[in-house]
């Protein structure tokens, strides 16, 4: 709230009580005080709930702590151990595999669906709602249902279908190569509904006149898509990319629940960074090591977000 110097004299009421320091302040100054008083609430909240723990985690990443005893300083030990840990690099690759597969695939699928759904009039609302349902479903419940879909004969839906048509079973989760895509699939599916809604809002925001002009000029559908729709959807696309990238970099629920007996397995092939942090902290009680991983995740998220914000600026 800006302080308006002209307010100083004009609004000074002659009969205003003049007690104390507060009474001697101008209206503008009082406004500023009130503004800061109200702002203090969210600021305090963020400082106590967000910044203090964040700072504490950064300090902790240079310490050794098992939650029971005292914290001891270990310098860069946690980081050197982390960067020389082959599991960490595997996990790092997995995290980016989730990001680099998940973001573009979900973007393309949700755009294709939204683009066509936008042109459908028949049962439009119902279809849109159907796409949105997975987004509202608990990730844990969904992960378990998919986990069972993926099982072998006799309980797995997919393998039972394959077996009835005489195709050999596919090892979905119990495979170092198939497991990650198998876990990614429901995660993508779960996020589609939200992305479709955002895309449709973006599509609706494009003025009809552009399409009418294109029609008069007799431009092909592809050209309309490439020259009008996609460029004008750019802010929507950037928004979805930023949001879904952060989501895939922080993927946890799906992986943890679909591999809960062997978290991030088999052989760490599905383990994302967040799951490694969770295990270091709450199953090995190696808090300092977990904090070091958290700092690395923080830096990665920061870099990815900065790159994407840069792209947003170029608009």
């Amino acid at each position: 709230m800006a302080v308006d110097p002209s307010a100083h004299d004009t609004t000074k009421a002659p009969n205003a009580p003049r007690w104390g320091l507060y009474g001697r302040l101008s209206v503008g100054q009082k406004r500023t005080i009130w503004a800061w008083t109200f702002l203090a609430v969210p600021i305090l909240f963020y400082v106590i709930i967000r910044f203090y723990p964040t700072g504490n985690a950064m300090v902790l990443s240079f310490q050794d702590w098992n939650l029971l005893g005292a914290r001891t300083w270990t310098g860069l030990d946690n980081y050197t151990r982390l960067f020389s840990d082959p599991v960490f690099w595997q996990v790092f690759r997995n995290t980016f595999a989730y990001l680099l597969l998940g973001t573009p695939i979900s973007l393309v699928i949700s755009f294709v669906i939204a683009y066509h759904l936008d042109q459908v009039r028949f049962m439009h609302g119902t279809i849109r709602a159907l796409y949105f349902v997975p987004f509202m479903t608990s990730a844990v419940a969904m992960a378990w249902v998919w986990r069972w879909f993926y099982q072998d004969v006799p309980i797995g839906l997919f393998n039972n279908l394959l077996a009835t048509v005489g195709i050999p079973q596919v090892r979905f989760l119990n495979s170092t190569t198939n497991a990650l895509p198998s876990i990614l699939a429901p995660a993508i599916w779960a996020g589609l509904g939200f992305q479709i809604i955002i895309f449709m809002a973006g599509l609706r925001a494009i003025p009809r006149t552009f399409y009418e002009a294109a029609k008069i000029d007799g431009v092909s559908t592809w050209t309309v898509l490439w020259e009008i729709t996609l460029p004008l959807l750019r802010p929507t696309i950037v928004f979805i990319v930023v949001l879904s990238s952060i989501g895939f970099l922080r993927i946890f629920d799906h992986v943890f629940n679909m591999t809960s007996a062997n978290p991030g397995g088999p052989l760490n092939s599905t383990k994302p960074l967040v799951l490694m942090i969770y295990q270091s902290a709450f199953s090995s009680f190696d808090m300092g090591y977990a904090a070091a991983q958290t700092v690395v995740l923080f830096v990665v998220l920061l870099i990815v977000s900065l790159i994407q914000l840069r792209l947003l600026k170029d608009r």
Binding site: L67, G69, D152, P154, I155, N159, A261
Partner: protein
């Protein structure tokens, strides 16, 4: 002067009397806090124990607090060092090292819990609770492994309950059913290192093939040996011979509960879950013996311990409560309500229990059971899970995978015991 001095003094005296009245009346009354994790039968049993204990000790109140198992470890680990925790706490035996190292639990007083008494009256695996001649904690009940079998499948296939590993393999192969395409629809033996098999492998198979899984009080891995390789070959052979299919129906216990597995190795804590299963007729046998008839078992337990925050009257009350929790009476109640086995030989090895159809095989197993002292149980389990997956998913030769596993587990132990 005299008067003005007396009035406030009198007032002070009355209010002081009023203030001290409450504590005076309860001078001998002590309230102690007890924590355990939430599992319905355990809570019911503990309520019963507390009621009996309070009846016998009218001046002591025991307040029980329980949390879900999922955050029990974290919450006790935060509360106990902060001094906010309980006076008597239930801990998994594997966490005890950390609590002793940090001075968070007190040794049990030697005059009431003498080492001689414990060694002669309790099952031998409670030795893991001893440090420098003092016992830090004691269990009420213990759990061991046994072989569950599906009676209906055994009758259908005309199989006897196996008593040796060779018989187990043959019986499992005979009990397996497949569909036209060769997919397993009913498994012989359930397996999964993620379940109880890592205990079976460590403490049972390796020993049965002539090995000693660890040396130096579980600080040195000792299974990268001929015995370890023989045990691993046997375990991997279960799958290659068709006696099992790892990952069948996702979880071993699920396959057994749904009647799609003939044999299942699991702990005594599974009894309660199986008892209510409709249409499932099951029995229990001791774990099959090894090639030269050797028997072994793995036992684990939750212990009760007195924390460092118990002092003075609370400490005295806690000691009394510990005595009751480790008494034969408490063990009988625990067996009846929770289904876990008594930790005292005299209570567990009565004819009635040792010959019980369900409890018998578990209790008999306790006599030759071993307890692994874990540094980080989930990490050490993961080592064995990965060992099998390298063989089954990546085709690594078993001997090589075993060496990798032994090195990985040794690294975990080294970093833990180094501090």
């Amino acid at each position: 002067m005299h008067r003005s001095f007396r009035t406030p003094l009198a007032a002070l005296a009355t209010s002081a009397a009023a203030l001290s009245l409450a504590p005076m009346a309860q001078a001998q009354e002590v309230t102690i806090q007890y924590w355990q994790y939430f599992f319905e039968a355990r809570v019911t049993a503990m309520e019963q124990l507390i009621e009996n204990f309070e009846a016998a000790n009218p001046n002591i109140n025991v307040e029980m607090t329980h949390f879900p198992l999922a955050d029990y470890r974290t919450r006790t680990a935060i509360a106990v060092p902060a001094g906010e925790g309980p006076d008597v706490v239930q801990l998994f035996y594997g966490w005890l090292n950390d609590y002793i190292d940090e001075g968070l639990i007190q040794p049990l007083p030697a005059d009431r819990f003498s080492a001689d008494m414990i060694q002669s009256e309790f099952f031998p695996m409670v030795n893991a609770m001893e440090r420098d001649g003092a016992y830090y904690a004691l269990p009420t009940a213990v759990r061991s492994l046994a072989l569950f079998y599906n009676e209906r499948i055994l009758e259908d296939a005309g199989i006897e309950v196996p008593t040796t590993l060779d018989e187990l393999v043959a019986a499992s192969i005979a009990a397996t059913e497949r569909d036209g395409a060769g997919n397993v629809t009913r498994v012989g033996l359930t397996t999964g290192m993620t379940a109880q098999d890592h205990h079976w492998f460590r403490e049972v198979l390796i020993r049965q093939f002539g090995g000693e899984p660890y040396l130096d009080n579980y600080e040195t891995v000792n299974y990268d040996t001929d015995a370890g390789r023989a045990a691993l070959d046997f375990y991997v052979g279960l799958q290659t011979q068709g006696a099992t299919q790892s990952g069948f129906m996702d979880e071993p216990q699920a396959a057994f509960r749904s009647g799609r597995a003939a044999f299942h190795i699991d702990g005594s804590f599974r009894i309660g879950a199986l008892e209510g299963e409709r249409g499932l007729r099951w029995g229990v046998a001791e774990l099959p013996s090894g090639p030269d008839g050797a028997q072994s078992n793995y036992a684990s337990y939750w212990v009760n311990a007195i924390t460092s925050s118990a002092e003075g009257p609370e400490y005295e009350a806690s000691v009394l409560f510990m005595e009751y929790l480790t008494s034969p009476e408490a063990m009988e109640i625990w067996l009846e309500v929770v289904g876990e086995l008594p930790a005292r030989v005299a209570v567990g090895m009565t004819d009635e229990i040792a010959n019980d159809e369900v409890f018998g095989p578990f209790v008999r197993g306790l006599e030759y059971a071993h307890t692994t002292i874990f540094a980080d149980e989930s990490a050490q389990r993961q080592v064995l899970v990965d060992m099998i997956e390298r063989i089954q998913l990546q085709g690594m030769p078993p001997a090589e995978s075993l060496s990798v596993a032994a090195a990985a587990e040794q690294a975990i132990l080294d970093s833990y015991f180094a501090d």
